[in-house]
Symmetry: C2
Subunit: 139 residues, 2 copies
């Protein structure tokens, strides 16, 4: 897990951490069951405060993508087998996606160009499936 942060960006650092990890889950770089770095360790690596990392992890926990425990640290949890997303997630996500696609349309991108971009991006992702041992689970 190697992620980089832009300290001078307008998006909060904890949001950047959350985004990069979400992308790592989608690309398969952080498969379900794999452990993420400890909050303080990652904070040192990024040169930021560990509380900021903690906030990013907590966001992912609220989204059901992470399980945080003392023993194993942060473990990627969400997959097709761990139940559906929390209620209302799909509506919220669709709404945000709508805004994003509207922006592209307003900027002059044609419909097929937009869909092409989406396909290119999704093609780089792998479906989340859990094929390893129960890392972080009680023995």
């Amino acid at each position: 897990m190697l992620l980089s942060i832009e300290p001078d960006s307008s998006v909060p650092i904890y949001q950047q951490i959350r985004d990069r990890i979400v992308e790592a889950i989608a690309t398969g770089e952080a498969p379900v069951g794999s452990g993420l770095p400890a909050t303080r360790q990652l904070a040192v690596d990024l040169g930021i405060n560990f509380h900021t990392v903690n906030k990013g992890y907590d966001l992912l926990r609220q989204e059901g993508l992470l399980r945080i425990g003392r023993k194993a640290g942060a473990v990627v949890q969400r997959d097709a087998t761990s139940g559906p997303p929390r209620p209302g997630w799909e509506e919220d996500w669709t709404s945000r996606l709508r805004t994003m696609l509207a922006e592209a349309t307003a900027q002059g991108l044609a419909a097929d160009e937009i869909i092409g971009h989406c396909q290119d991006i999704v093609a780089g992702f792998v479906p989340v499936t859990y094929d390893g041992p129960a890392v972080g689970e009680a023995s």
Copy 2:
């Protein structure tokens, strides 16, 4: 132009205003050349401060989607004929889209489901074309 705002949302009000207007441009509800309500008027209608509205309008101006003048107020400007988006826009947009699609993948949505959502949304948009008189232009 009828737009509603969620005052208790976590996303800033000025961002909501910007998002709703972007969507209105994409759906054709606010075609290029049409005028938006005056900042103070819209602020009264929404029950918020006019400065907040002004900030939302200013965002759209920076994105090249709006032209603000005393005479005609805020006028939708961006279309295919008013030049390309500002440099770096497409890279930034693609990056944000990537995060959004990764989120859906991590939540368990299949690739074809994601693309289907995108197609459904884009199908509700109309290409931005300017077919009216030069509203707000010097005579």
